[in-house]
Assembly symmetry: C2
Homo-oligomer: 261 residues x 2
């Protein structure tokens, strides 16, 4: 199975992308809703949680792990790769590669949680590929709670998005990386506030393309993945609001199974 | 020592009230910043966390426990009282008693997290004391992240507060219970949006008065509490933002010590 974990519900944007591009592949998802959010927490804590989540996915039959959480990808990728003998995908490098491909002026904006932005992982990686690129980052800590509350169309959300995006607009970015799995849900309002000419990079789509390429290049591994169209959604805590948000992201009725971590 | 726990940093409003009314009493605080927030989580999860937090406070020398978290108080009080042989204080009943005392028209508004409001604990308790009282509740899930971000004076916060308070204003409440430890930080804007004539009830102040009364009525127990002006602040995760928020609540420099839970 393809294993995907996230700090909560937001990683379902990646599940949706995988379902569209790899229909029929069995998926096991774990959302750490009991300990969400990760973006405000320290590196050590996020690393511990990521290792626990990966172990859980392996126990549930995962043969490939996608860390759909940007905060976890920023700080825990090395440790997860060290500890598990399976292909591990993170959401940072696919988004970086795509941003560099799409950007003409190499004026790239990054938005993410406080944890992701503070880690500086996007900037380091972009500059590693292309020294001439300019990178401008803004932490947007309130967007995750706004998405989890379902406030995607509210004027307050538009105001807050505008406040976050304004400093990047001033820098005349031409490309904006949505550096958090929750943000694709706010794509429309972000596009409106960033301006039509700014190209948005969705890390859920970018990592999915990377997984598709990997499977094409490794047909034997691809064959080892089960393809019965089965999906299992586990979460460390279940509430009504989580169910509503999950349904609004994945656009269909799904069952969230509770599991202790 | 007086032990106080909260889901995060917000419970420091109670520490501040205790320090003012019981100066010199030794205090040990635990903020569960690694697993914050509690307000969006299920009852079972909040009960487990509350038992773990109480155990930790006891190990650190607490002889009296204040559950400064409204969500924990709403769902875990019975279990904590069952499991620990010390005086346990919760923040709900002191606020309820004060609200009933202050309210003339018995038109009482309650704001809190989704968990607190869903538990219906305030309404049940108010009606238990006074059947004729009318209670109107509004969950305000975005106020905790706004406080934790330090957005106390921003126009977006004022808009969101107004949106939450409006339905209560329509009901012509004369008293409003701030049913979450974070909310006293937003007292000014809440008062402005609720209107001057609405009396705000601060649960941090209410529980502190209850503790003061208890100690006066139990002088032997009072004597057993150490009074060296010592304060220990433990948190399950430390970040810069937690430090900034903690300092802004307690109004002085404090050291947050990391402890695994």
């Amino acid at each position: 199975m393809i294993g995907i974990f996230d700090s909560g519900i937001g990683g379902l944007t990646t599940v949706k992308a995988i379902m569209e591009k790899l229909p029929g592949y069995d998926i096991v998802y774990f959302g750490d809703t009991a300990r969400t959010p990760y973006g405000t927490k320290s590196c050590g804590t996020v690393i511990n949680y990521s290792l626990e989540n990966s172990k859980l996915l392996m126990e549930k039959g995962a043969k490939l792990i996608i860390m759909a959480c940007n905060t976890a990808s920023s700080v825990a990728t090395e440790k997860v790769k060290e500890n598990f003998d399976t292909p591990v995908f993170e959401v940072i490098s696919p988004a970086v590669k795509r941003a560099l491909k799409e950007s003409r002026k190499k004026q790239i904006g990054i938005i993410g949680t406080r944890g992701t932005i503070k880690s500086n992982v996007y900037e380091k990686m972009i500059k590693g590929f292309d020294k001439s690129a300019s990178v401008f980052s803004e932490p947007c800590p309130l967007l995750v709670p706004l998405v989890e509350e379902g406030w995607t169309e509210r004027p307050e959300t538009a105001m807050i998005v505008k406040k976050y995006i304004q400093p990047l607009k001033v820098r005349q970015i031409d490309t904006l990386v949505l550096g958090c799995t929750h943000y694709p849900v706010l794509k429309d309002v972000i596009q409106r506030k960033a301006g039509k000419r700014v190209k948005l990079i969705d890390s859920a789509e970018a990592v999915t393309d990377e997984v598709v390429n990997f499977l094409q290049e490794n047909p034997d591994f691809d064959k080892s993945l089960s393809k019965n169209g089965k999906t299992d959604f586990f979460v460390s805590d279940v509430t009504e609001q989580f169910k509503i948000t999950a349904r609004s992201i994945i656009k269909k009725r799904i069952e969230l199974k509770h599991i202790e971590i």
